[in-house]
Symmetry: C2
Subunit: 205 residues, 2 copies
């Protein structure tokens, strides 16, 4: 089974043999094979729909469990986890709570790059790179650590407050995961969610 996650900027494909490929939309040429996919891009999603052997699994989700405007990619990451805090650290950082397979709600914080750029826009003096080695339990006496802590310490403490196992995925999963400490960094979380949804629908593949 080939799994495909069509995102806003790229297409992420997981092949049966475990190989993974991330390509730009422009270079995306759907293969003529059985593929299960989700898509946040309507145009690309229709292209795939038209091929009979590409199956959009979005409708296999019980959307009433979530909320109407919640992205299908975010939902699929939640589907991977029965109980826990699910963090997707990308351009935004979503923090979602699952309890016994039930979606309890979530929050959306600014991603690392978005936050860093926003500091620079306030003042050139705040346009510095974060120091990811900073100790989150300290307070700072220099600008770099002050902005790193001002962005990260509240967020990391907030994630830990839920006192549940943390599953983290997305481009900045390693950075954020290291700061959280004891957590599950899993780059394949979205595909695990898709796989679970497919198995629920079709039985064990």
């Amino acid at each position: 089974m080939i799994l495909c996650d069509i995102g806003n900027t790229s297409v992420d494909i997981l092949y049966e043999n475990g190989n993974r490929m991330k390509i730009a939309h422009a270079d995306f040429d759907p293969v003529d094979r059985d593929v299960y996919f989700i898509s946040v891009k309507k145009q690309l999603s229709n292209t795939c729909f038209e091929r009979l052997n590409w199956i959009n699994i979005e409708s296999w989700i019980d959307r009433s469990k979530y909320y109407q405007t919640m992205g299908i990619d975010r939902i699929m990451v939640c589907e991977a986890v029965e109980d826990g805090v699910i963090v997707d650290a990308g351009s935004a950082i979503t923090v979602d709570i699952m309890e016994n397979g039930v979606y309890k709600g979530g929050t959306i914080s600014l991603g690392v790059r978005a936050a860093q750029e926003a500091y620079g826009r306030i003042s050139p003096a705040l346009s510095v790179s974060f120091n990811f080695e900073v100790d989150l339990d300290t307070i700072a006496k220099n600008t770099t650590d002050s902005i790193t802590l001002g962005y990260l310490a509240p967020l990391i403490h907030y994630i830990k407050r839920f006192d549940k196992p943390v599953y983290i995925t997305g481009g900045d999963a390693d950075i954020i995961g290291k700061l959280i400490g004891n957590c599950n960094v899993d780059p394949l979380l979205i595909f695990k969610g898709m796989q679970k949804v497919i198995e629920k629908r079709l039985g064990k593949c």
Copy 2:
């Protein structure tokens, strides 16, 4: 005694009679009277220096208590408080800790407007106004509350974690103060700090 805080975008003046005036730099015409001032704008600060009756009180601070690049306005707000968490909610939100008159350090988070703009830059779908009525102890099932909580809940919980009296000032002091709850909203905090520094130097005025 007239007190004057020359900021990045405007000049804030407190007269003896308690009247306060905030004016744009372009409209700023220093009065020919005894004025104690601080300035983050070097050019304007020199203009005032040249008038003998304008006194820059920056050098009256023991800067070794703070850190080298820390803004004089932020320092002055800290000087107002002996023990507590000092929050200045402006274009950035600074959170500083004073203990027995000693500066322990601080953090710099994004201000309300900076954060809101940064969400909009990630995606038009996240370009929504914050809902300041949201309950910070919940999690959200809609986009507006998700981004409001993603920005504010970590920050507010973080400020409360210090378990000290909170003093809050700056343009968004009312909004942030209401969310923190039991805290001292004080629009005059910077002038109180200046006054304290002046009294320490010159004796009670």
